[in-house]
């Protein structure tokens, strides 16, 4: 029996402990926002966060996540009906085309901004290098990460760095 906390909810699974976390998330937990793309950690479509760090769930045995905190795209927004600043920025910049890689892109970007709230172009390249977008929306991904980072730093400067205010700022930016 493996016990996971996924998006804040405790989950138990009895699948073989060598099963990649990806398939537990998609099939046992039916959280289908996390995608299968290559199965060998090359494309990043399966990216989720393990204790905050972006990982490739297609290569991570579920045993490695036992007792750990997992966040998937379904848990990225701070609450129902709200958006994470990155999600708002993704809409503002109209990032997704087919959209299939975007859950993984967003989870990698979320991990980046948490550890580095004001990333440079090089920081973004490094953090996002593992996420392929076959629709080629890299320019928009970079711009959206910067918009979200700016929304975050503006709020920090005002001393109101809680997530919901960040979202409100990102939405205002999107409305411009």
């Amino acid at each position: 029996m493996t016990v996971l906390t996924v998006n804040g909810v405790k989950q138990e699974t009895s699948v073989d402990s060598s099963t990649p976390l990806l398939w537990v998330i998609r099939e046992q937990l039916e959280l289908t926002g996390t995608k299968f793309g290559c199965g060998i950690g090359q494309c990043g479509a399966c990216t989720v966060r393990l204790n905050g760090t972006a990982i490739r769930s297609c290569l991570t045995p579920v045993a490695a996540a036992d007792g750990q905190e997992i966040q998937t795209i379904e848990g990225l927004a701070p609450s129902d009906g709200a958006l994470h600043s990155l999600q708002a920025a993704w809409i503002k910049h109209q990032v997704p085309q087919c959209g299939y890689c975007q859950s993984g892109q967003l989870m990698s970007a979320a991990a980046l901004l948490e550890s580095n709230p004001t990333p440079s172009d090089e920081d973004i390249d490094l953090a996002m290098e593992g996420n392929i977008c076959r629709c080629g929306m890299y320019g928009r991904i970079k711009a959206a990460i910067k918009t979200a980072a700016k929304a975050g730093s503006d709020n920090t400067a005002n001393g109101t760095a809680d997530a919901l205010t960040i979202i409100a700022t990102a939405k205002e930016t999107a409305d411009e």
Partner: protein, 755 residues
């Protein structure tokens, strides 16, 4: 723009709850009768666009196009909403169900937009397509960059204008006021003199009683309020929170999972199978041999060899089972075919020139060459390419009592339905197909092979089955962009003017005009092809034949300019002088890129020009080549798609097309070894990643010409612009792709002669 012509009719009906349903159709004659009667009398169905106005004043367009990332639903909805003067927030889009009444006819009609000159060699094909359309109704295709310029122009705008006219008439009658005093605005009907305002839906029932206008008045471009303006795509919110449903995300009760391996050598089969280890694995339910399959549809025909599937309680045990199979593949006649032998064959066949077919032959080529002051020759090659959509091929099926229900992401729902029915021996009416968002399509998802496998498995298992291909299977069992070799000879006069152009290439597909060049004048030209078939399955790949010929012709034309000792941009511009629309696009790209401005160490600049899928694109690439490493710094594109219906959507498509083409130019190669594909996954079939992505600037020109395509025109021009930039930077002429196989750091002094 404000005339829509001939061959259209509009039909109306009342929906339960008082809503209005309007269908717009094309047909050969000009009789404005009811749809049902028309269908009955001729056994044909032509309606392609349905528009629904419900009691809540919400307008829903139902159109036969699939969403694979191109934003088609939003662009089409813009066209409807604008003509309808609808409130953008009250307009929705649904993909038509895969049933025959929604067959997509204007996709073919759209190949003949008014005012567009059709090259002579294209005419027989266009006629042929229209003729075949009359016979075959299995068209529900998304491809050829056709949706906006066919369904949008001939369907959505007409529907919007017709509905608006009927609603205004209904309001004028109800209010007893002159028609010209009734204004339709933001989904409201307004009579200002009497201060009356009612929602469209209030008149839906009355409008449904009216005879639809046979020629509704369309807006002029100056009147557009939504077309050409920025709107956010409808589908994007669901693609940032994980709720968008792709076929892979379908979950059915009691569902099994499967994965599959097909004979790796094309044309081969299974000699023997030992599945004992696979069957012993926990979670594995069954191992099933699937027969060879084929489809003979108007679109997406294919043959596929035998395969073995492992069915399990989850994808992971199925994959473990697949890896545990011991399969001996049968020997085939193709076991010794390689990429090298294929290109040797191409070379031989071009040299032999047996049964060479001519696309264009003008002037006396040999006489012109004999008078040339300078002759240049070159051979170009492009490799096979896979599509590698982000979403691996998959389909989910249930088969019960002679009926199949299928969930799939595909570019051709009706041909898929027919192919599944044929494979199972069912009537097409007994196959229900649910088309989901596609995680990329690029042409691959017009072949139904993967959907047929899922249905065959579900039939065997008597339970729902979700078949998921491994990425390795996706790379090795594609319908590849064909490898091509192309041979050129050109003659220049003493002033460096191009006088003669000859081109012979292998195998012609579509679009037929892909190898033509736009430059004039030419004293003589001869463009043609020889047949050189291989055993490698091929299919449409984003921009189809333009993707290879764009690289060939625009690179060799650059060689001509260099041989003439002239600037490649000015040389092109001089030869587009009689085509002002084309010239404007070329000039825009060059000027926006700062053509001629000084560049840094190792840098080069290259230009290309492409006209395809009804749109014109020029690109300037800036590259840095240092120590043999190629970094594409910047791509400046200018595009004239007539009118950009969705400007940001057009820019996004050009950006996307460029990155797709750049991935291929830099890394893309499927190699054949022992008759099979060598590559397996993104590890050896690389995709461009963020750090290698150039800055892309897209400049849109709205010339007002017929609306062109968006999904494909950005792709062909980037490889030649890059190759031309590399020549500018290094003096090395790239004549084969991909570029990463070329040693751009090669120097003669590096070659050490052994002592």
């Amino acid at each position: 723009m404000n005339k829509w012509t001939r061959r259209s009719f509009i039909t109306t009906g009342l929906l339960a709850g008082g809503g209005l349903m309007v269908g717009v159709a094309l047909r050969p004659g000009n009789r404005a009768k009811g749809l049902a009667q028309h269908v009955t009398s001729e056994g044909e169905t032509f309606v392609h666009t349905w528009v629904k106005l419900d009691a809540n004043n919400v307008v829903t367009a139902i159109v036969p196009h699939a969403e694979m990332g191109q934003g088609v639903g939003t662009a089409l909805t813009q066209m409807l909403a604008d003509e309808l003067n609808a409130d953008w927030n009250l307009v929705k889009f649904e993909e038509a169900p895969a049933i025959t009444p929604f067959a997509n006819h204007p996709i073919l009609k759209g190949m003949l937009p008014p005012g567009v000159e059709i090259p002579e060699i294209v005419v027989p094909t266009v006629d042929g397509l229209l003729m075949r359309t009359a016979q075959a109704l299995n068209l529900q295709i998304t491809g050829g960059s056709m949706s906006v310029r066919s369904t949008g122009v001939y369907g959505m705008r007409v529907a919007g204008a017709a509905v608006q006219e009927m609603l205004r008439l209904a309001a004028a009658e109800a209010w007893q006021v002159p028609l010209d005093q009734v204004v339709a605005r933001n989904s409201q009907l307004i009579h200002e003199a009497s201060s009356r305002t009612e929602p469209y839906s209030a008149f839906a029932a009355a409008a449904s009683e009216m005879t639809p206008p046979s020629t509704p008045q369309l807006k002029t471009p100056e009147e557009f309020t939504i077309i050409g303006h920025h709107v956010e795509r409808h589908d994007i919110p669901s693609k940032v929170d994980g709720t968008a449903t792709f076929a892979l995300d379908v979950r059915l009760p009691n569902m099994l999972y499967a994965t599959v391996r097909r004979t790796p050598t094309f044309g081969g089969g299974i000699e023997s199978l030992d599945d004992s280890k696979a069957r012993a694995l926990p979670g594995v339910v069954d191992v099933i041999r699937l027969p060879a399959s084929k489809a003979e549809a108007l679109v997406g025909n294919f043959t596929a060899t035998e395969s073995v599937a492992v069915v399990a309680e989850g994808y992971w045990p199925a994959k473990q089972g697949l890896d545990a199979l011991k399969i001996v593949w049968s020997e085939t006649a193709n076991d010794y075919v390689s990429s090298a032998s294929i290109f040797e064959q191409f070379d031989r066949d071009i040299s032999a020139g047996v049964d060479r077919e001519v696309d264009v032959a003008e002037g006396d080529f040999e006489a012109t060459m004999a008078n040339a002051a300078q002759v240049i020759e070159a051979d170009y090659r492009a490799p096979y390419l896979a599509h590698t959509c982000m979403e691996p091929l998959n389909a989910t099926a249930v088969v019960e009592d002679g009926r199949a229900e299928v969930w799939v992401g595909c570019q051709a729902p009706l041909p898929f339905r027919q192919a599944i029915a044929d494979a199972m021996g069912f009537d097409a009416e007994n196959v229900t197909l649910h088309n989901c968002f596609m995680g990329g399509g690029f042409g691959r998802k017009s072949r139904a092979d993967y959907a047929i496998q899922a249905v065959q498995l579900a039939a065997k298992m008597g339970r729902p089955v979700q078949l998921i291909w491994t990425r390795e299977e996706d790379v090795r069992q594609d319908f590849y962009r064909p490898a091509v070799q192309s041979r050129f000879r050109a003659g220049l006069d003493k002033d460096g003017n191009l006088t003669a152009w000859e081109n012979t290439y292998v195998d012609k597909h579509e679009p037929v005009e892909a190898p033509l060049i736009p430059y004039t004048p030419l004293t003589a030209s001869n463009i043609g092809y020889v047949s050189s078939p291989t055993h490698v399955p091929f299919g449409a790949w984003r921009s189809v034949d333009h993707s290879q010929h764009g690289f060939f012709t625009e690179s060799f034309f650059d060689e001509v300019a260099v041989a003439a000792g002239q600037d490649p941009y000015e040389y092109r511009a001089a030869r587009l002088a009689d085509k002002p629309r084309q010239l404007a696009v070329l000039r825009k790209a060059a000027e926006a890129a700062g053509w001629g401005a000084p560049l840094g160490e190792g840098q080069g600049r290259g230009i290309s020009f492409q006209e395809c899928f009804g749109s014109i694109v020029a690109q300037v690439v800036e590259v840095t080549v240092l120590d043999g490493q190629t970094q594409v710094d910047r791509v400046v594109a200018a595009v004239d798609a007539g009118i950009a219906v969705s400007p940001d959507g057009l820019s996004a498509q050009i950006e996307s097309g460029i990155i797709y083409g750049l991935t291929a130019a830099l890394y893309g190669e499927i190699t054949i070894e022992n008759g099979a594909v060598k590559q397996s996954n993104f590890s050896d079939y690389e995709a461009l990643r963020i750090s290698a992505a150039p800055k892309i600037e897209t400049h849109i020109i709205n010339s007002g010409s017929a609306i062109g395509g968006a999904g494909e025109p950005g792709t062909p021009g980037v490889a030649p612009a890059l190759a031309n930039a590399i020549f500018d930077a290094t003096g090395f002429r790239v004549r084969s792709l991909p570029i990463n196989l070329i040693d751009l750091d090669y120097k003669v002094e590096d070659v050490v002669t052994p002592a």
